[in-house]
Amino acid sequence: MSDQLLAARHLRVLFPLKGDQAVHAVDDVSFSMRERETLGLVGESGCGKSTLARAIMHLQPLTSGQIIWRGVSLNALKPRELHDRRREFQMIFQDPLASLNPRMTVATLVAEPLRALRPNLRAEEVRDIVSNMIGRVGLEPSTLDRYPHEFSGGQCQRISIARALVVDPKLLVCDEPVSALDVSVQAQILNLLKELQASHDLSLLFISHDLSVVRHMSDRIMVLYLGRIMEFGSRDRLLDSPRHPYTRALISAAPIPNPEIERTRRAPPLKGEVPSPIDPPSGCVFRTRCPKAAERCTVDVPDLRPIGPGQNVACHFPN
């Protein structure tokens, strides 16, 4: 357990609405992360992946559950103590330009975490760390005096990465970091993240709706649907032999740039759409679209159970 970085236990985030209703954004999610590993979180709209990311980052309060960071329960900490720990986990966001204050220079933006979390540094030290980091993410020094709107999406994302890594965190939460970028630029950023992961000893919590991107980056993958974990396991096993019907549907739905394969397609696409997270379906939340749904699925919520080495499924009738 010595290198266990993060343990999330039964996380729940509910947004109460009028009356008895609530948006079940995250429902009973538990997982753990080690140092230097990448955990991929994949799911479609309404699966709660963004809410989960923000909950881990303590940007969103939990309704219930515990987050244990390096052995210390974060819930139990006072605000001051939590603040001190913030430099160990940082985040990058989906919209590259929107996550940068348009009125600040790149230098100010990248230096901000240092000013907030390492206030004892002298100005020259801050400047050095910032310039160094800008170079590490592949940008020129002249970038420092410019403003975010002068840069492309890919460059803005590099700036965000620099900002996140300037305090040398152990965990980087990446919320759809390449979804808003062109394909040719996506690859640049993904390569950059991999390199920085190696050189900075980072763990990545990599969130995306794009299975192929998650496949490339992750050691383990967690599949979410309506706030619950459907399947969770090592990347290769999960993708080569998916056990949950939803995972199979996701894999088969992803378009492949090969006309021969695409045209002689396999199973017809999954019917229907994701139900509203307001009062989700009873029992197994996937039952409304599941080709295997039976009586039991309406009543019993399936637990996440190990079904093989490094593979866990929440399904009454896994493949």
Partner: protein, 350 residues
């Protein structure tokens, strides 16, 4: 729908140029685009942001923003659309050419029930009576896979889910029975499982009525399943075009090859023969990428627009922009590398 002569192309675009005036200089969004669409074929148009793929068709449909000016020619059944009067354009839009856009929420009027928006297409374009129009509307909703069509007619866009709204968009585009359907990134805003459904729908839509479909996307995977032919665009010009199977199997233009490598790099399942040179270059775990970024359309380089990012660039590429060279039956590639001892320069067909 009349059956056009199989030899005459439905849509002939020749040397289309579109410019947007702006405070920081004019944006050259479309730079000399030439292509044809035949009846009953599905054409995929692939490109990244700034490639001009959307603006090309906005220009043809006369839907440019106020600061945009299109020049060149786009003939639909012989009728010129560029610079045509609103009357002419209105006759063609909706009736002969149907369009589907990326975001159904902003394309549908939030204040009108969808039945009304559908019947409007018929009562305006085909002068159909209200009752018949309602019947046709329910029919088309059923065709696009909406359950309980008659009840849906009374609902408002915000009451429908994203996938359902997009189906309504498809219905609206099809209800007047157009010969050509233009779908601009129709699935980009949708979940992947819903995207699969909509693509399936689009496939049946083209097949069924011998209708031409133009599918615009940034994703090769999306067009792979539907397109007969593919146009690859970069910086406002077509850099390569040809039959889909050919193009995927053996892409010629450096940009096409690079873009495909990026897409396939993420997808080992894509399974097409590795180009050999790709596997050698990369450190393990690295994805192929294209260095740099798309050009500033206000300041296009004098020569080939892809040259700054092209590993194959020669001195020639800096000086002038390449023509479209024939590289096979019905295959064109705009790259000087094709010149060496190959088919003679192709003069754009008139």
């Amino acid at each position: 729908m009349e059956n056009p002569s199989p030899l005459e192309p439905l849509l002939k675009v020749k040397d289309l140029h579109t410019k947007f005036t702006g405070p920081d200089g004019d944006v050259n969004a479309v730079n000399g685009v030439t292509f044809e669409i035949k009846a009953g074929e599905t054409v995929g148009v692939v490109g990244e942001s700034g490639s001009g793929k959307s603006q090309t068709f906005m220009s043809i449909l006369g839907l440019l923003a106020r600061n945009g000016v299109a020049s060149g020619s786009a003939e639909f059944h012989g009728e010129e659309l560029i610079g045509a009067s609103n009357r002419t354009l209105n006759k063609v839009r909706g009736r002969a050419i149907g369009t589907i856009f990326q975001d159904p929420m902003t394309s549908l009027n939030p204040y009108l029930p969808i039945g009304r928006q559908l019947t409007e297409m018929l009562t305006v374009h085909r002068k159909v009576k209200a009752k018949e129009a309602r019947y046709a509307a329910a029919q088309i909703l059923s065709t696009v896979g909406l359950p309980d069509p008659s009840a849906q007619l009374r609902r408002y866009p915000h009451q429908l889910s994203g996938g359902m709204r997009q189906r309504v968009m498809v219905a609206m585009a099809l209800i007047a029975d157009p010969e050509l359907l233009i779908a601009d990134e129709p699935t980009t805003a949708l979940d992947v499982t819903v995207q699969a459904q909509i693509l399936e729908l689009l496939r049946s839509v083209g097949r069924d009525r011998h209708r031409s479909v133009i599918l615009i996307s940034h994703d090769f995977g999306v067009v792979a399943g539907l397109a007969d032919r593919i146009l690859v665009m970069y910086a406002g010009a077509i850099v390569e075009q040809g039959p889909a199977a050919d193009l995927f199997r053996a892409p010629r233009h450096p940009y096409t090859r690079a873009l495909m490598a990026c897409t396939r790099g993420l997808d080992p399942e894509a399974g097409l023969p590795a180009d050999g040179d790709l596997a050698v270059e990369l450190p393990p775990g690295h994805l192929p990428s294209i260095p740099g970024q798309p050009p500033d359309l206000r300041r296009l380089p004098m020569g080939c627009a892809f040259q700054p990012r092209c590993a194959q660039a020669r001195a020639r590429c800096l000086l002038s922009a390449p023509e479209n060279y024939a590289v096979g039956p019905d295959r064109l590639s705009a790259c000087f590398l094709e010149r060496k001892g190959m088919a003679p320069k192709l003069v754009p067909s008139s």
